[in-house]
Symmetry: none
Subunit: 154 residues, 2 copies
Amino acid sequence: MTTNLNTFTGEYSYTVDNKGRVNIPAKFRKALSADNEEMFVITKGMDPCIWVYPAIVWKNIENNLKNLSSLSAINRTFIRNTVRYASATSYDKQGRIQLTTNLIDYSHLKKKTLIIGMVNKIEIWNPDKLKEIDKKNIKIDNNAYDELAEKIII
Amino acid sequence: MTTNLNTFTGEYSYTVDNKGRVNIPAKFRKALSADNEEMFVITKGMDPCIWVYPAIVWKNIENNLKNLSSLSAINRTFIRNTVRYASATSYDKQGRIQLTTNLIDYSHLKKKTLIIGMVNKIEIWNPDKLKEIDKKNIKIDNNAYDELAEKIII
DNA sequence: ATATATTGTGGGTAGTTGTGGGTAAATATC
DNA sequence: GATATTTACCCACAACTACCCACAATATAT
């Protein structure tokens, strides 16, 4: 079975143990291309969740950032908020990565987590937080959303 | 008789077994082009049913999503909603795919199912749910059909 | 009409995966 | 330098999944 490498879809329920470890779904680990050497980069998401990138995808982002001018406020903000918290971790023999307390606090993780494939990255959520955000997003700009849907969904 | 590849028509009755597997009608499997490697992607439909795409059709959607920047909140929401329930599965030697509990719940699948060819994708329904929806849709606006008439010749 | 192949449905089993906890090395604290 | 705390690595086990086989029902061929 060959799917796109470094591409993640689907939603999974897992638990954070009392050492701050979470399992990366087996499907996601299998989707990692070999040149990642079983490494992910975890960082602060733009929503209150943790973003998990394959190591080489993250390297690309870093390289792109180098080419961005710091004159732009949004660039500076993105770098400050997102890159700042990035740390590389490989998963252990049971397929778990170690989260940092910083990120656990930021995303309000307790025991139950939702791990969501977001195509080129993975999100780790507190299920309750995500529900909140989903509710808020119902009021989101519908026109822009529908435009996207029309362009992309078949 | 050879029909168009990756094109599905007709309606079939099947059962979901207690492991959450459903048979994909033989005709549909034969309609899959070779580059799919016997893989489908199942995901949440816009109606309360499961959508089943040939893998390569879904890959197109994925690639489109990869070009959306996560700096935009609306993009993030859209990606999440689109991909969250998607999972790739190849069918087993008996021609069945494994459904996820998420999707079974969402589409209210019990034992009996209707599998419907929808041209470029397949829908899996609880027959009762479909009846409900059909009733509602009888009241559909004739104007809506007139609009469609300008786009499609049947 | 009979034989043969295909298709749909059920279940068993071995291997994988998720979760908890243990131990020793590494780091920090007093 | 001795002790406490954290971190990295290892093992155990229950639960689940992928894969295999069996068989009945249907369709196809002779």
